[in-house]
Symmetry: C2
Subunit: 254 residues, 2 copies
């Protein structure tokens, strides 16, 4: 099984696909959003105004498919699955975006909660969605808009045994570039989520007796904003199918 | 003596001026940079790429002189002293910028080390520049550029008794929106600073036997970038003469 970020990316480049949760433990994972340069200021201001769902790790120079987060990577081929959007509508879900890449592209890479999953499991939190994608939900909370770019907050959810709630708070609070502390615990209704068994993205998790649902701001918020804001052209990763960087997440005892 | 941020701002609005270090303890202070909207993307990307000197607290909508950081404030009148720049040259230093304000202005408010001064003094650190402005120096380190916006890193310096160095690290590490941990301790030559008694901005501090100079990234980095990058028009605060927000800095025991 591939272990390092570079090995996992090489697999994706050669056509392997699938969700990245649990892959290359200890390496920081990232959401991807590509927009035309004309939209880059609105998106960048949106990420500033909504740092919980959109902690920026890197913004490329216009047209560049490279990032200092992984020097040998090509952002057009090294993710397992992409989504191509036109006027806010999903038009394709390819494993390679070389043929739709534009020279006026600006790429945003933002932090992902998958980065803290290995810290949570090493602290004893049970894995409630083995072999599946994390559950994600569109909430009733609107993000602070920026120019033309706006949309609802999206969250990911992990069931946490009540005895481990403090541990999960402590670990994730110290990882602000991976969304940081949970934004909600308990009643999904307060976020406008009606049925935990029907996530808007990803797969439902197993909720065991004694578990409480814990919600973190989610990078898919940027995709929801693409749908709401309808830029003429955008590319994102497919939910749960992240860019794995070469940045090692520091491990600290908490 | 005025105590709250609003009281101090009201004084500035009526013509009072002077450095803000030590004023309105516990309220977050901010650097100000106003640029034409055409330059806003480059500046915003520069702040993202240089988060230590430029931790963004707010970016206004184009033309707005208001910020959620202080609802009743007017950014054109409520700072003690401004600087007006044309093509990177300082052309005026007024206490009010109403008459030079442009409708295409975008204002950046970024964190300031003055915010942690009250935490440092309450932890027992001596105040080495009573009644004066903090010492600031242009370094030999270049910031990561963004489009047309580039320039050197500027630092502030505080002399710290060696027994209190750990305390100063602990306190400021936990305040990333006020520049966070020191970026250098000791030999000024490593930053290209030749003479601590001749700061580039502000006033020299008293260095006592047993003190070590401790350096933090400084918001004046944005002014140095204005000088280096020469936007056609810019307004900043005068060094040490900050915008005092209504945001209370949480106090924690460390």
């Amino acid at each position: 099984m591939p272990e390092t970020a570079a090995e996992v990316r090489a697999g994706f480049r050669s056509g392997v696909s699938g969700p990245t949760s649990g892959l290359a433990p200890g390496f920081r994972q990232a959401n991807l959003l590509v927009v035309p340069a004309d939209w880059a200021y609105d998106v960048l201001l949106f990420t500033h105004r909504n740092p919980d769902p959109c902690p920026v790790l890197d913004v490329t120079d216009t047209g560049s498919r490279h990032t200092p987060l992984a020097h040998d990577a090509d952002l057009r081929t090294d993710l397992p699955l992409y989504r191509v959007w036109r006027d806010g509508r999903l038009v394709d879900e390819p494993t390679d975006i070389t043929d739709v890449w534009r020279e006026d592209s600006v790429t945003f890479l933002t932090g992902c909660s998958f980065t803290f999953d290995s810290a949570l499991t090493s602290a004893g939190l049970p894995w409630r969605y083995p072999g599946r994608n994390v559950a994600m939900y569109v909430t009733n909370r609107e993000c602070r808009p920026a120019g033309r770019f706006h949309g609802p907050l999206v969250v990911s959810m992990r069931p946490v045994p009540s005895a481990l709630i403090g541990t999960a708070f402590r670990i994730t609070t110290l990882m602000p570039t991976s969304h940081g502390a949970p934004i909600h615990l308990g009643d999904p209704g307060e976020l406008g989520i009606r049925d935990l068994s029907k996530p808007d993205f990803g797969d439902a998790a197993d909720i065991q007796p004694g578990d409480l649902p814990m919600f973190w701001a989610c990078g898919v918020t940027l995709q929801a904003a693409v749908v709401a804001s309808r830029p003429p052209f955008a590319i994102t990763h497919a939910p749960g199918h992240m860019f794995i960087t070469d940045v090692r997440e520091p491990q600290v005892a908490v």
